[in-house]
């Protein structure tokens, strides 16, 4: 059991109508590893995430978490220990910061309807423990001082961090981060990097989608490049950076064009998220 990879995607394919968005993409993530997923806009990165988390049911292929096959349902997947954040931040806007994290705790709490109705001692214990854990996590990401603010009132960078705290609250073994630094300034990006390292240090494996290749190459243990729904290269940052195909397909673009792509992403035009 312990030898099984933390997360393993085997030849995942996804077809929308006639469009093949993913073609036999495989990914393997060892325990405590950070893996980067890069690729030009429209390469299918978010679609891949959606397949992993059960939001989409892959047309073919398998996803294994710690050696067991994941059920094809977002709620079950989260329960099994795979948590995610969203490319275009999706917090619960009129809940407070703390409540957002408590939602993340939902799957690890046991109180049923009756216990919730009666608020008995067991309920109180569970509720206290959940709040304690939520506060720990807010502290971990550096948001304790704003726990009573409505999440919609947080500045952008804090919203990203809150999403991470909410995902961590589900006690995941694997965390999927969809563009965690989009729209951040250099200081915030650096803080995000440190945060991801600290998350890894707690024993959680991390998969990061990012457009900022510099960020990915300095963060990740291994990097996977997706181009047009196909896995192009997989390897260490050094291998990937030096691979001529990557340079051609992704980095080889004239700087302006890359810049344009980055800008488009930053301004929130959704990439696979527009379906459903």
């Amino acid at each position: 059991m312990s030898s099984a990879p933390a997360l393993q995607a085997r030849e995942v394919s996804m077809v929308f109508g006639g469009l093949r968005a993913l073609n036999n993409v495989s990914l393997e993530l060892a325990k405590g590893q950070i893996v980067g997923l890069i690729g030009p806009n429209g390469a299918g990165k978010t679609t891949f995430f959606n397949c992993l988390t059960g939001l989409y049911t892959p047309t073919s292929g398998q996803v294994l978490l710690g050696g067991t096959q994941l059920p094809g349902d977002p709620a079950e997947v989260t329960t099994a220990g795979l948590a995610r954040t969203f490319q275009n931040i999706r917090l619960f806007p009129s809940m407070t910061v703390l409540e957002n994290v408590l939602i993340g705790r939902h799957v690890r709490m046991k109180q049923g309807p009756l216990s919730s109705l009666l608020h008995g001692p067991a309920f109180q214990r569970g509720e206290r423990a959940a709040r304690e854990r939520a506060r720990e996590l807010l502290d971990f990401v550096g948001l304790s001082r704003v726990e009573d603010e409505l999440s919609r009132n947080l500045p952008y960078g804090d919203q990203r961090r809150l999403e991470i705290a909410r995902a961590l609250a589900t006690d995941p073994s694997v965390l999927l981060l969809d563009e965690p630094t989009a729209g951040m300034n250099p200081q915030e990006t650096e803080a995000a990097r440190q945060l991801i390292f600290r998350i890894r240090d707690t024993g959680i494996s991390v998969v990061v989608i990012e457009h900022d290749t510099k960020f990915i190459f300095t963060l990740c243990d291994r990097v996977t490049v997706l181009v047009q729904g196909e896995l192009l290269v997989e390897g260490t940052p050094e291998e990937v950076r030096g691979d001529p195909r990557v340079v051609e397909a992704y980095l080889g673009k004239p700087p302006e064009e890359v810049q344009a792509v980055v800008e488009e992403i930053t301004h929130g035009s959704a990439e696979g998220a527009s379906g459903e």
């Binding site: 959704a270 998220a273 527009s274 379906g275 459903e276």
Partner: protein, 306 residues
């Protein structure tokens, strides 16, 4: 039994034609603004009263006798009232809520519906009880074997089908029709292409109101009395028909309406409970369709929204 059955089928077709005139308005408005315009049934109702008012106060006594002059004028009167009311409610009640969350316009629509029902009851003379509607059409019914259909029923079916075909052609061929389809597909892109969504929405409401107004007056002529409740009831049926046919689809709304008409009238003789329960069966049908085939029987898959 066979005679009863045939008669019920004939009645169902007439009822379906009536419902279709209302359902088209539902389907068009929903297609464009994704609003269940609950008050659309009331537009039908005020149309009927508009026709009655025209007859009572506008038409000179000698004209009232000549149906082919009186009826068109009554229809015109009904349509004018319907369109005015419909446009006023779009402008006053719905437009300010265009970007509000979706519950808000739905609740507003409920409010408008109650308001219009009550306004007619309180302010239309004697409308606290059902009002007799003049029979301004040929009164000799058409008899085919065992089946008897009032001439006004035939008229309803004919008008309904002709208007539906005209509407289909308008939406497919005209400039405004193209703008409508574009707006229904993707309002933002449509706006970028230079289409004024306000205009499209106003025209959509107006078209729906014209059909409902015609329907209201013809309903009066067919049933021979009207009250302020006819809008709600028939409105719900029309909505059911629109969903059944696949909301947003003109052909679907018409076919859905005929299905509803037939189900209602056949339930009267075939299903347990008879006439007392025919409405129940329609609601059961509505639930089944919404739950198991929300895209409708003839519609395309529900439009994907981001």
């Amino acid at each position: 039994m066979f005679a009863t059955l045939m008669q019920q089928i004939a009645n169902g077709i007439v009822f379906g034609a009536l419902i279709a005139l209302v359902a088209l308005g539902y389907t068009m408005v929903y297609g464009i603004v994704q609003l269940i315009n609950f008050a659309h049934g009331e537009v039908f109702m005020v149309g009927a009263f508009g026709g009655l008012a025209t007859y009572t106060w506008v038409l000179p006594a000698d004209v009232k006798q000549i149906w082919y002059v009186a009826l068109p004028l009554m229809v015109l009167g009904g349509v004018v009232v319907s369109v005015l009311i419909s446009l006023a409610m779009e402008r006053i009640a719905y437009r300010p809520l265009r970007n509000a969350p979706r519950l808000a316009p739905l609740i507003t629509a409920l409010g408008v519906s109650v308001f219009l029902q009550e306004a007619v009851r309180l302010f239309y003379p004697n409308a606290t009880s059902a009002q007799p509607f003049p029979a301004t059409f040929i009164t000799t019914p058409l008899v085919i074997g065992p089946v008897t259909v009032p001439a006004s029923g035939i008229l309803l079916v004919a008008v309904s089908i002709v208007l539906a075909i005209l509407l289909q052609a308008y939406v497919n061929r005209s400039r405004m029709g193209r703008a409508m389809r574009a707006t229904a597909q993707d309002p933002d892109t449509a706006r970028l292409m230079g289409i004024n969504p306000d205009r499209v929405i106003v025209v959509t409401f107006a078209i729906g109101a014209v059909l409902a107004g015609v329907g209201g007056v013809l309903y009066g002529v067919y049933i021979n009395n009207i009250d302020n409740q006819i809008g709600f009831q028939n409105g719900v049926f029309a909505f059911t028909a629109a969903v059944l046919g696949g909301i947003g689809s003109i052909r679907g709304a018409v076919i859905g309406s005929f299905v509803i008409g037939l189900v209602k009238n056949l339930a009267d003789v075939l299903l347990p409970g008879g006439t007392a329960y025919d409405y129940v069966w329609i609601f059961v049908l509505l639930i089944v369709v919404l739950v198991f085939a929300p895209q409708g029987l003839f519609g395309e898959a529900e439009r994907v929204r981001a």
